[in-house]
Symmetry: C2
DNA sequence: TTTGATGATGTAAAGGTTTTCATGAATGAT
DNA sequence: ATCATTCATGAAAACCTTTACATCATCAAA
């Protein structure tokens, strides 16, 4: 229309003729002014930008940015004007622009094989709480241990959409771990299951110690013939818990009877099968210490089916304290994993790594808590 | 050093004297070339950009962008060269830059009062699966029904960090819902609990119909005196389920006995209390239909404590099929919420809204499935 | 041969920040 | 009065895309 454009924002800016030299914060003054007049009500999807704020406050965008991020670096009066302008426009800094510029998204990606798993969701609470407290958001990725899905999620990392990684999977995402790819690994922390063959820091429960405590509890109730259900040569968790069991027995001068140690993969079915197997061979304990609650449930189901009176005739102890533990009959005595705490600690560690700190130790082990319910009683026989 | 800079990337570009007119894709040729020589191994945190790819492929960045996003619009041979350059550099498009430019993050924010709730995590699986299938990521926010935390999370929306919202909370986030703020509402879908006093689309189970089916199952087992535990005048879920219960009774010509309808807020404790109350007043049913499994658990605990033989003396029916339902004794007959499906449908609906489609209906109701276990038996008396 | 249409590609302008460097005023030391 | 510091601020570059528009070659139709 007209060749020479005039910009005003009510603060008596002079018309400028060299348009391409017009200070950037004036270029959009008209628009900002419109916003100003309309109060804090904005156009549908046109949000206020830092330029709008700058124009209203009568300062440059650099100053606005500083007023927000380093308040001490701007004069009191200026800061006041900026703050007011922000309130008037309802301005929020655009996270995308910020991330782009800072090469940092303030997002953490959580990779889990099964998001529906109760163990996951409980730790998640801790992770999320800590992250949010520190200004980070959490993104979740359900991998189902599928290589494709894992690599899919790597784009969050390599596209700068996430700064760090929490691994529930027990292994590096497929595509990492390759030689040469080392440099591309973002800061990460493993949780729930340590990452095998790697130096990824791990936060979890102290399985050895917890298992020892559990076994000692059974011993303290007079049990001498204690079975361990859930032997495995591959699963790190199972191996550690078995070690704790053995340590407790040996600590009390009780000889470990290999016939009382049965295989199990941690499923309910494996607990049931192991118990049945025990009755077939007719080598019976007075108490069952199970590698986890799911296994313990299998044992209880099997014993209930055989019409034994629990815990009078057999004691059963689990590990984990998963949600149903208090609902089985008899309710399960077990070791409670401090899941909330695990989540918080893991996130705390990850954020420290992001801040450039070197981890003092490669694993953080938290103590499991003995939860006494009704599945353990004093031994009624030898 | 020298005033005239020379840019080469091995493809015989001529030196250019007007530096500020130098084509952008040449400006960084040297760097890209270095990357090229080093194979796909990158500097620690310097990822390849679209310019690197462009320089290697010998095209402009516009063409690279098109080759990626609208492959049909570039010549076959060019596309081939670009693809190869991408492979060589290990390029991934920077999500932040993309989002900034497109004003769209491809992220969905999920707001839930309790992330640890099993109902949440199961629906989450469906949400995540569908989102990821469609190229969206999910961000989770644990609000604990805290106003501060809810407003905190709104920055994800107002800073363009999330395009849409899934609400588990049953209400609009604090700060929305105000007058005038209408325009700022992003597309959203409610799940688990409908949002009261609003037209936010809801995806959930058909409570009325499911409840009717449940009650009919009890009737089909010969029960006539069926209690409803969980009456409420405020909770939408409870109200609907009670309506289904009444409809079933009336459909079979059974008079509703108000003395068999007891208050309850859906907690285990409320189920226990209601049952005790019933025995105090000595008006007994032959079957208990509970508003949900948690309530049913309370009923079972109470009945077990009174040494009744279940399900012979009393039948108990729940609703939801939460995880422990199969572990209680007797294992609980209940209506299963199709949680995975709910999650998928909700996300599907939200993405449709994002794509600009108008929802055909304001709520999508999915059918609950009858799960027969051991807590319901044929009525042994009137 | 001219014109018009089509198709492939390049140029440059957003998109909204943060931050380096430059500028200029005010303050304190000499 | 002069000079060196310090302090508050502004200009402009950089972060990396997508896309409207312009350009140019090619080919078909007139």
């Amino acid at each position: 229309m007209n060749d020479v454009k005039v910009y005003t924002n009510g603060k008596a800016y002079k018309p400028i003729e060299n348009v391409w030299r017009c200070p950037r914060h004036l270029l959009k003054a008209a628009r900002a002014d419109a916003i100003g007049r309309a109060g804090h009500q904005l156009q549908h999807h046109k949000l206020a930008t830092i330029e709008d704020v700058a124009a209203i406050a009568g300062v440059s965008i650099a100053t606005v940015s500083r007023a927000i991020n380093e308040p001490t670096k701007v004069a009191d009066e200026t800061r006041r004007r900026v703050t007011e302008a922000i309130a008037r426009t309802g301005y929020t800094t655009n996270a995308m622009a910020r991330s782009l510029r800072m090469r940092r998204s303030n997002m953490i990606l959580i990779l889990a094989p099964d998001v529906g798993d109760p163990n996951f969701s409980n730790i998640l609470v801790g992770l999320e709480t800590e992250a949010s407290k520190r200004g980070y958001g959490v993104l979740i990725g359900n991998t189902q241990n599928d290589a494709t899905r894992e690599t899919d999620y790597l784009r969050f990392i390599s596209s700068n959409q996430a700064d760090g990684l929490i691994l529930f999977t027990g292994h590096l995402p497929y595509g990492f771990g390759q030689e040469g790819a080392e440099a591309r690994l973002p800061p990460m922390v493993a949780v729930n299951e340590p990452v095998s063959n790697s130096d990824v820091p791990f936060v979890g429960v102290d399985n050895f110690e917890g298992s020892r405590v559990a076994t000692e509890h059974l011993i303290s109730q007079g049990h001498r013939r204690i079975a361990f259900i859930g032997h495995s040569t591959s699963k790190a968790v199972n191996i550690l818990r078995e070690k704790g069991y053995r340590a407790a027995l040996e600590g009390h001068g009780i000889t470990v009877d290999p016939r009382l140690i049965l295989d199990g993969d941690g499923t309910t079915e494996s607990g049931r099968a192991a118990t049945e197997h025990m009755f077939v061979r007719d080598v019976l304990p007075t108490a069952f210490f199970c590698v986890n609650d799911a296994t313990a449930l299998g044992v209880i189901i099997s014993l209930n089916a055989r019409r034994y009176d629990l815990p009078r005739e057999f004691s059963v102890m689990g590990f984990d304290d998963i949600s149903f533990a208090s609902f089985v009959t008899p309710s399960l005595t077990t070791m409670k994993q401090p899941r909330l705490k695990i989540g918080e600690e893991a996130m705390d560690l990850l954020l420290a790594l992001l801040a450039g700190e070197k981890p003092k130790q490669n694993e953080v082990l938290l103590r499991a808590e003995l939860i006494v319910r009704n599945s353990v009683a004093r031994a009624s026989r030898d």
